[in-house]
Symmetry: C2
Subunit: 135 residues, 2 copies
DNA sequence: ATAGGTGCAAATGTTTTGCTGTCAA
DNA sequence: TTGACAGCAAAACATTTGCACCTAT
């Protein structure tokens, strides 16, 4: 059996994880960098990216990518869904405990599904309200 | 009502769309470029990207992004699901006619869902077979 | 003591853009 | 005729990497 290569716990790695785990906002690497500098002023952006890769390989976090610009990261490694507001750009979680996508649907896949990702797009409640008022 | 800015049909735009529509492989911009050069030898990669943006804005195609490397494009603008083989990297469609994700699930979203995207990851049938044989 | 991590800066890879000439309408 | 589009090349942007130094174990 393959041994995982040993990974050290440095203050940089701890801070990257803490920053990510302390927010629900699914931030970008650069946002994490700005926050992490408060704790470790000379941390570098390269270190942020390197530690995000390490945390991904440890399956402690997930990467979310939406085509344009930077990736976003999520400290919740469990399966859950995201809602992206196309007006304000915010990325929100579905309420915890949302039921899984129907197994019958996944069974139609042209292969064996190991994980999946459901991303919804639309208008969040705040933006919807703004649109209603503007009418 | 806002008028859409007029869009011309150039041979470059037609070729970009035809190349994309002629394959089920969800190709990258660069692959489309290589194919398009057969028809229009001095087409440029910039033109490929510009026309893909135009086609996206016309909602005739969709962009698929999987974190690493280049975006992929899909000439099918209708809602459907994708299966990504984590072994060979291939991106496949679910069979047409697959039922939609349950409305009860979408109703839990923290906003009004206008569209959604379901991406499944795992091993495709060919790769699964390879793994079985290797045992 | 030392392997693995860090900061820094340069490199990479993808996508966008400025400019000038061309062509579809 | 003319303004939207093309080709070309440079710029922009996010992310990765090489290297010499540092530090957790």
């Amino acid at each position: 059996m393959l041994e995982e290569k040993q990974k050290r716990m440095t203050k940089q790695k701890r801070v990257v994880y803490e920053v990510l785990a302390s927010t629900k906002s699914h931030p970008t690497a650069d946002w994490i960098y700005q926050q992490a500098r408060r704790e470790v002023p000379d941390i570098s952006l390269g270190t942020i990216y390197r530690n995000l890769q390490v945390l991904l390989s440890e399956q402690r976090i997930r990467e979310l990518n939406y085509g344009k610009g930077q990736s976003r990261f999520d400290a919740n490694p469990l399966p859950h869904y995201h809602f992206v507001c196309e007006h304000c750009g915010q990325v929100m979680d579905f309420p915890i405990g949302s039921p899984p996508v129907a197994a019958q649907l996944l069974a139609l896949a042209p292969g064996q599904v190991q994980s999946y990702r459901l991303e919804c797009y639309g208008l969040c409640r705040d933006c919807l309200e703004g649109v209603e008022i503007a009418k």
